[in-house]
């Protein structure tokens, strides 16, 4: 089930109060052709100290499976409010998830990191499979994950 992504979407915790201080950031996640049911993915942000700041996107609709995204579950407490309004369908084998968000300027180049947790039914759970810096210098450079993520690219 493909969904049309909003051009502008952000959680309450990450939305900048003044639009002029925000920038559009695109996150593109391509999965390996692992041959199984749709994968659950979650993208979330931690600060330089490693403290949880907020969730960018949850791909996967059934809350009973969120515990398999264990790092996110532990960091955010798995509270439904964290993903209210930013949930979509799970991502199929070999498919790409592309989301574009407005992020506050203050978050970029401040040592913040984007984590990607993945999990597949009857497969592996990969907490923090990809950890990418939210830095302009890393824009457009794809990172590979050790689990199901073939490439993860942050573009400013």
């Amino acid at each position: 089930m493909k969904f049309v992504l909003p051009a502008v979407a952000a959680t309450a915790t990450l939305l900048s109060p003044v639009l002029a201080e925000a920038r559009q950031v695109t996150f593109e996640t391509t999965l390996k052709p692992y041959g199984g049911n749709g994968a659950y993915l979650v993208l979330y942000v931690t600060d330089a100290a490693g403290a949880y700041k907020g969730t960018l996107w949850m791909a996967g609709g059934k809350a009973k499976y969120y515990r398999h995204l264990s790092d996110w579950q532990r960091a955010s407490g798995g509270r439904p409010a964290e993903i209210d309004g930013i949930t979509g369908a799970s991502v199929g084998s070999g498919k790409t998830l592309k989301i574009t968000l407005d992020l506050a300027d203050a978050m970029i180049d401040a040592g913040y990191k984007v984590h990607v947790d993945t999990a597949v039914e009857d497969g592996m759970d990969n907490p923090s499979e990809v950890v990418a810096p939210l830095a302009a210098s890393a824009s457009g450079k794809p990172l590979a994950g050790k689990g199901y993520v073939k490439s993860f690219t942050v573009t400013f």
Partner: protein
């Protein structure tokens, strides 16, 4: 109503239900295969031991799961190697990587969601609801047909489609109901409709000390391996992380350093039920149950196919009544009791005429009578009579249902029958009496129509119009039945010398005029009826068939009646001449299945179907034939054939009686009385009695048989209801 609830969803969703059921049946084999393949779990092993063994081999182990299919797996990330591995429960050794086969995944997704994601899951749930409704309503319909819930296991009689549908249905119903209910529960769980307990208290404080060897942790030792669901290892980089052990008892958090149980959340009742539901639906952990459920599911396509055949036959059998108003809104209700379709035709004419006069009319079968019908101001009952005064096909349950319903509409009863029969319109009389006894005011006195006379029907229409206060013109044109041509191939004439001519006539389908290839006979068996429409008439006359399609010829025995239009026509037929005929099935008049003994009793032309049964007895079951004629020299029908059947053991004994025999006149009932001890023994062994012949003979035979069966504690009505005494009487 119940039939509609059963049939419409069943047929509309037949294809989807077949897919869900067949994929379910395929998946049901998996638990049995898994059980054979998966290594057994040692009964006494504890989780701690196995965890230690696995941790020794994989320092980066993150989770150990005992899956529903019985396999034990470990997920690990050792840095350079990572993956999910199958584990031997006894030794902790690796058995290779874990992967669900592509085929199983495909079938599972097809079963759960028709390969269409969440929307497909919703469709599958709708299908499960429909399956539940169809199964329950099917059982109720079967109980009604067999005579109550207690009678559900009685033998099912009828056409092959009816038998298959009924037998498979009652075998599979329980399994299908269970699968639908458990499937719906699982669907509710997946869509978050069942209340879920949140994870264990995360405000638990781990001791934070150096991790102890896994095998020594008391919290893990406390749980047996066979109860394990999932053991999550703590994250090595986080000293505050704990072991999470989910097992049959619930969720237990265990400290990595001290081994103490920090929190224990017992499994809720809902979780236990969900576990049980999962086992009941998939058969995982109960492989025999899984296979049985799979068999029940495999019956669904056959049920759908036979159901479709039955539905089409019902629709085809009943003529359409145009502009049929719902019962609640009708001011006049017409209830029809019809054996063939002729009475329905009259009802259609009446319905159209009343509607044209401005009434709101609802027409239905008498069997379907409901309180709504009796609540209407006026009720018109059109009832044919079958045989000796028995109710026709569409009115069998009318009187019983009527007794349970309230309502006293104004009634007029119209009976259809044949004056030459002694009990002319007896059933219609019974209906009229029952309605009068309830206090229903009479619109018109009961009228009886002889041999579907259109003039008498029109006269009744004028009387009804008078009672209603307006003109009512009923011009009924009988619909001729669909016939096919048959050509006379051969004839044998008996009994002329004794004044009772009987002809054995053999017909074949006409050959193709262009190629000369022999034509195809319709499908029939000995015991069925052929309806022959003589030229110059529209009403068919029925004769019992003495042969089956596979004999390649349609054979009947016709007694010449002085004033019989059809019998005269048939007796005068020359070989090669053509007749118009159609087949009417008579599934009740058949030898019962199996190899139990048969007692065949007949007289005169009634020997036809009985000879057909003997001819078809290739299996050599015991068959005892009693037959009465007038003179052995003149009208001994099938004399040579029966002698041959005796030699071939298709016929065990033959007793004849001739009423004009110079040496001693006797009737067939005399032979029965003389053989009473032997017949009693046969009935005790479970013999079935089939009687074919005239009314008088049938009555005499009944009187002769009563004393035969009474010492066994049986009587003829009891034998009739269990299908062990069947009659074809004319």
């Amino acid at each position: 109503m119940l039939r509609r609830l059963h049939g419409l969803p069943g047929i509309a969703l037949a294809l989807a239900l077949a897919v869900t059921a067949l994929t379910g049946a395929v998946l049901s084999v998996q638990p049995a295969l898994d059980r054979a393949a998966a290594p057994a779990i040692p009964a006494a092993a504890s989780v701690a031991d196995l965890a230690a063994q696995v941790a020794a081999r994989h320092p980066g182990v993150s989770a150990i799961r005992l899956r529903a299919d019985g396999s034990l797996t470990a997920a690990f990330d050792d840095g350079d190697t990572r993956g999910v591995e199958r584990i031997d429960p006894a030794t902790g050794a690796g058995l290779g990587p874990y992967a669900v086969s592509e085929t199983t995944r495909f079938f599972t997704n097809l079963h759960r969601s028709f390969l269409a994601g969440d929307a497909g899951r919703v469709a599958a749930a709708i299908g499960a609801l429909a399956m539940l409704g169809v199964s329950v309503s099917g059982l109720m319909l079967l109980a009604r047909r067999l005579g109550g819930a207690g009678a559900l296991l009685r033998p099912i009689r009828g056409t092959p489609a009816q038998r298959w549908h009924g037998e498979l249905g009652r075998l599979a119903a329980v399994g299908l109901i269970m699968s639908s209910l458990t499937g719906l529960w699982m669907w509710a769980g997946t869509f978050g409709l069942l209340p879920e307990t949140t994870g264990a208290n995360s405000a638990v404080a781990a001791s934070g000390g150096a991790p102890a060897p896994v095998g020594t942790l008391t919290g893990l030792r406390a749980v047996k391996l066979k109860d394990l669901r999932e053991l999550s290892f703590p994250d090595p980089s986080d000293p505050a992380d704990v072991f999470t052990l989910v097992s049959a008892e619930g969720e237990r958090l265990v400290d990595a350093a001290t081994g103490a149980t920090l929190a224990l959340t017992p499994a809720t009742a809902l979780e236990r039920i969900s576990d049980l539901v999962r086992t009941l639906h998939t058969g995982r952990g109960a492989w025999l149950l899984g296979l049985l459920l799979g068999l029940a599911a495999a019956a669904v396509p056959v049920l759908g196919g036979t159901g479709l055949v039955l539905w089409l036959r019902r629709r085809g059998a009943r003529p359409r009544i145009a502009a049929n108003v719902p019962a609640r809104m009708a001011d006049t209700v017409i209830l029809v009791g019809s054996e063939g379709n002729s009475t329905w035709g009259f009802a259609g004419t009446l319905h159209a005429a009343l509607t044209a006069a401005g009434h709101k009319v609802h027409t239905a079968a008498m069997n379907d009578v409901t309180a709504a019908h009796l609540a209407a101001p006026r009720l018109l009952v059109l009832a044919a009579t079958y045989g000796e005064g028995a109710p026709p096909q569409s009115a069998k349950h009318f009187l019983a249902r009527l007794a349970r319903l309230p309502g006293r509409p104004a009634v007029a009863v119209l009976g259809f029958g044949d004056r030459s029969f002694p009990h002319f319109c007896r059933f219609a009389r019974a209906v009229a009496d029952a309605l009068e006894a309830r206090g229903c005011p009479q619109l018109l006195p009961m009228k009886r129509i002889d041999r579907r006379s259109a003039q008498e029907f029109a006269q009744w229409g004028r009387d009804l119009g008078g009672a209603l206060g307006h003109d009512l013109v009923l011009t009924h044109v009988a619909e001729p039945p669909k016939t096919m041509p048959l050509v006379l191939a051969g004839r044998e004439l008996y009994g002329e010398a004794v004044g009772a001519p009987v002809a054995i006539l053999r017909f074949q389908a006409p050959a193709d005029p262009r190629t000369g290839a022999p034509g195809r006979l319709p499908t029939f068996e000995a015991g069925d009826l052929v309806g022959i429409v003589p030229p110059g008439d529209y009403m068919p006359r029925f004769y019992s068939l003495a042969s089956s399609t596979r004999d390649g010829v349609l054979e009947i025995c016709v007694r010449l009646r002085a004033d019989g239009l059809c019998s005269t026509f048939l007796h005068e037929l020359a070989p090669g001449a053509s007749i118009d005929a159609f087949i009417r099935e008579n599934p009740a008049f058949r030898p019962a299945k199996g190899r139990g003994p048969l007692i065949l009793i007949g007289a005169g032309a009634g020997i036809g179907p009985l000879a057909g049964f003997v001819r078809a007895n290739a299996a050599g079951r015991p068959v005892h034939l009693y037959w009465g004629g007038r003179s052995a020299a003149s009208d001994f029908l099938y004399e040579h054939e029966l002698a041959q059947h005796l030699a071939e053991r298709r016929l065990t004994t033959l007793r004849t009686a001739f009423s004009r025999d110079p040496e001693g006149s006797a009737y067939v009932q005399d032979r029965i009385a003389a053989d009473a001890p032997r017949l009693r023994e046969l009935v005790k062994q479970g013999a079935q009695i089939l009687v074919c012949g005239g009314r008088d003979m049938a009555e005499a035979v009944t009187r002769a048989l009563e004393p035969v069966v009474r010492p066994l504690g049986l009587d003829l009505p009891a034998l009739k209801s269990s299908g062990r005494y069947v009659e074809d009487v004319y």
